[in-house]
Amino acid sequence: MKNAKDKDRLQVAKTYKLYLGGAFPRTESGRTIKVTDAKGNLLANACRASRKDCREAVVAARGACRGWAARSGYNRGQILYRAAEMLEGRSEQFTEELRSSGATSAQARREVAASVDRLVHYAGWADKYQQVFGTVNPVASSHFNFSLPEATGVVVIIASRDAPLLGLASMVAPAIAGGNTAVCLASESFPLSAITFGEVLHASDLPGGVVNLLTGQRDELIPPLSSHMDVNALVHVDLDDKERKQVEEDAALNLKRIIRRKPSNWFSDEVDGPYPILDLQEIKTTWHPIGQ
């Protein structure tokens, strides 16, 4: 635990825990993983979450589902914008954390800035995608017929191996802007900025349980999430062929929607737009009678 800046006093290091249901508990298993910097110095003993933590996270996410989806788009947008403000204000800390995981200062600053901008982008979408994807349908009978997107429900997000902050923010933002709740599995090698991102969300009036963050080993934690019967969708970006096949087979159990994001790079504005929101929406069509 090297003292990065201050030579005269001992730095107070943070204990990195999980983010579950709006609280920061340790894993119930009591297990940890050593997270080191590029030189092998210990940065933290992060939690190595268990299958039970996964289940707890899904319960928390399910519990938050109805309330979050019922919030107005405007309100969800405000909260996402607040998260952008919080992230901007703590950009020093995030830059430092990303640097410790091997990024250069310039790379780290760029990633933090892009993450802030992505949150702002999706804050703006929260009350607009409904108009882009909703339709009034000119049916032949005397009905007012309309289709609107609705949140799919509980979404598992498997964060990218690279871009531990930007990748995660880019996957979380469209999910929650669209009224879903999320269980996120942080990058296995660089989990720290994900947990700190949880602190940002926590300080943004995001209701507990809307985003839950797990750290630990992918091969151990993906199966209980991909086979969970109360998970509605799973978003990933870089599962290898074997992992992807397994996850998609598990998805058959309850017909989870599996979304594979394919960004050429997370910094591109290709990643923006309402379509990642649409991926995690169900279209509901209502036939309302028209009187004589």
């Binding site: 339709t135 349908n137 009905h143 998609e248 998805a251 058959a252 017909l255 279209i283 509901k284 036939w287």
Partner: protein, 500 residues
């Protein structure tokens, strides 16, 4: 008790009063060959194995014709024809011209609508009134709707341009053969894909008549191919390496198997699967109208409807009155010859399906629900099931959670709006739901909370080509119909306009 002093009205007597003279539709417009072959690359061709199976009229148990059974080899041939047509012709055809082919097909269907309706009824068992007034008009309308989309795709998805997916492998069920074919073919062709489609083994004939129409329309060979057969043929199609997209309508069980089989591949897919829809009747509903809606919701097409309103949720305060009226109305339903224009409920589509329904009737009684059936006479030949109610049903009963796909309605009661919503959503399915109330605000409140892709308010089982249809949860993924129904058949790429 004061309650017992109130006399319930005497039961209605229907004997004699409801005898209609037979009004059979003629089968003359339908000319059937003895044997039907596969439709591949614009031609009717024999199956490589030489195998064939009969297509049986479920109302008479007589074979109408035999149909070639496509093997994996034939499927391969069809996929290659579709690939060739995609690369050589269809992807290079101007969008507006693609649209004109579809308009042509729509017109030819309208022209031969009577013949197709009769055949649909002969081969599938559905009442002629339904195939004539519901199926066929919707089939033509669907082609018309998507025909117009072909050259307007740039307007459908803001910031994106569309390209076709490629070759689509489509598998459809036996409950609405031509209509399901239209739902699958029209958007696929309009967006520039080519197709290999497999109809259900009990209802191939109208699809092969559609092949004639496709020939008459001069659609380039290979753009549409039909392979007939049972589950093995379907499995060969969805697993074929040469297709880019799978579209399946059928049971959740088979849908899950398909999803599993596609795991790890690059194939896209949409699934339109089973349902166990709740038809929720509030005490302020227009009761007589709601009784009609419940009847239509579960007995339309013998209950062979994935979105059928197979669970009736009644507010307790009106349950007795509603059930009396419902039973009275059920007594008037005519079960019998599907070709008779008076028939309300036709033949169960196959012997196998009748056995499935009967199995559930036994399960329901064994679990403690009480069975009520109308007393109508049934023909001696053919596969029939009387309109059926299950009363005293608990939410945990299998007849309240599993799809029966027959004219069987499970009745449950509730007290509050919240309870109704909770019960309606308490199944793994989420295809459709019905809300009956005179209060517009309640329609929106309950409709909002139903986890289902289609919500019918004071109506049920309504369809329109402009209206997206498809499920939440285990009822599938993807939408068919309207603008949203284009999405499964296009790749979205960023348009130049989308650049900032």
């Amino acid at each position: 008790m004061a309650k017992s002093r109130k006399k319930s009205p005497p039961p209605l007597q229907f004997k004699g009063a409801w005898d209609y003279a037979p009004a059979p539709e003629s089968t003359d417009p339908v000319q059937l060959k003895d044997h039907y072959e596969l439709f591949i690359d614009g031609q009717f061709v024999p199956a490589s194995s030489g195998n064939a199976f009969p297509s049986v009229n479920p109302a008479t148990e007589k074979s109408l014709a035999t149909v070639s059974e496509a093997s994996a080899k034939d499927v391969n041939r069809a996929v290659r024809a579709a690939r060739k047509a995609y690369e050589g012709v269809w992807s290079k055809t101007k969008p507006a011209e693609r649209g004109k082919y579809l308009f042509r097909i729509a017109r030819l269907i309208q022209e031969r609508s009577r013949e197709l309706a009769i055949l649909e009824t002969m081969d599938g068992g559905k009442p002629i009134r339904e195939s004539r007034d519901v199926d066929l008009p919707l089939v033509a309308a669907h082609f018309f709707h998507y025909a117009g989309w072909a050259d307007k795709l740039d307007y459908a998805f803001p910031g994106k341009t569309t390209t076709p997916v490629g070759v689509a492998g489509q598998v459809i069920p036996w409950n609405f053969p031509l209509l399901m074919a239209a739902w699958k073919l029209a958007p696929a062709l309009a967006t520039g894909n080519t197709v290999v489609l497999k109809p259900a083994e009990t209802t191939s004939l109208s699809i092969l008549k559609l092949a004639e129409i496709i020939q008459d329309a001069d659609l380039p060979p290979g753009v549409v191919n039909f392979v007939t057969g049972a589950g093995d043929t379907g499995a060969a199609l969805v697993r074929h390496k040469g297709i880019d997209k799978v579209a399946f309508t059928g049971s959740t069980e088979v849908g899950k198997n398909i999803r599993k089989a596609l795991a790890g591949t690059e194939k896209r897919f949409t699934l339109e699967l089973g349902g166990k829809a709740a038809n929720v009747i509030f005490e302020d509903a227009p009761i007589d109208q709601a009784v009609e809606g419940v009847i239509n919701g579960i007995f339309f097409n013998q209950g062979h409807v994935c979105c059928a309103g197979s669970r009736l949720l009644l507010q307790e305060s009106i349950a007795d009155l509603f059930l009396r009226k419902l039973k009275d109305r059920m007594e008037t339903l005519i079960v019998g010859d599907p070709l008779d224009k008076n028939t309300d409920i036709g033949a169960i589509n196959s012997k196998e399906q009748l056995q499935t329904i009967k199995k559930y009737l036994r399960i329901g009684e064994k679990e403690g629900a009480s069975l009520h059936q109308s007393s109508c006479p049934l023909p001696t030949k053919g596969y029939w099931c009387r309109p059926t109610l299950f009363l005293d049903v608990a939410q945990s009963h299998r007849v309240a959670t599993e799809e029966i796909f027959g004219p069987v309605l499970s009745v449950l009661t509730f007290r509050t709006v919240d309870e109704a919503i909770q019960m309606a959503n308490n199944v793994p399915y989420g295809l459709s739901g019905g809300v009956w109330t005179d209060k517009g605000s309640k329609i929106f409140r309950v409709g909002n909370e139903l986890r289902a892709g289609v919500v019918w308010a004071n109506t049920f089982n309504k369809f329109d080509p402009t209206s997206p249809f498809g499920g939440y949860k285990e009822s599938g993924m993807g939408r068919e119909g309207g603008l949203h129904g284009l999405l499964p058949y296009v790749e979205l790429t960023r348009s130049a306009k989308g650049k900032r």
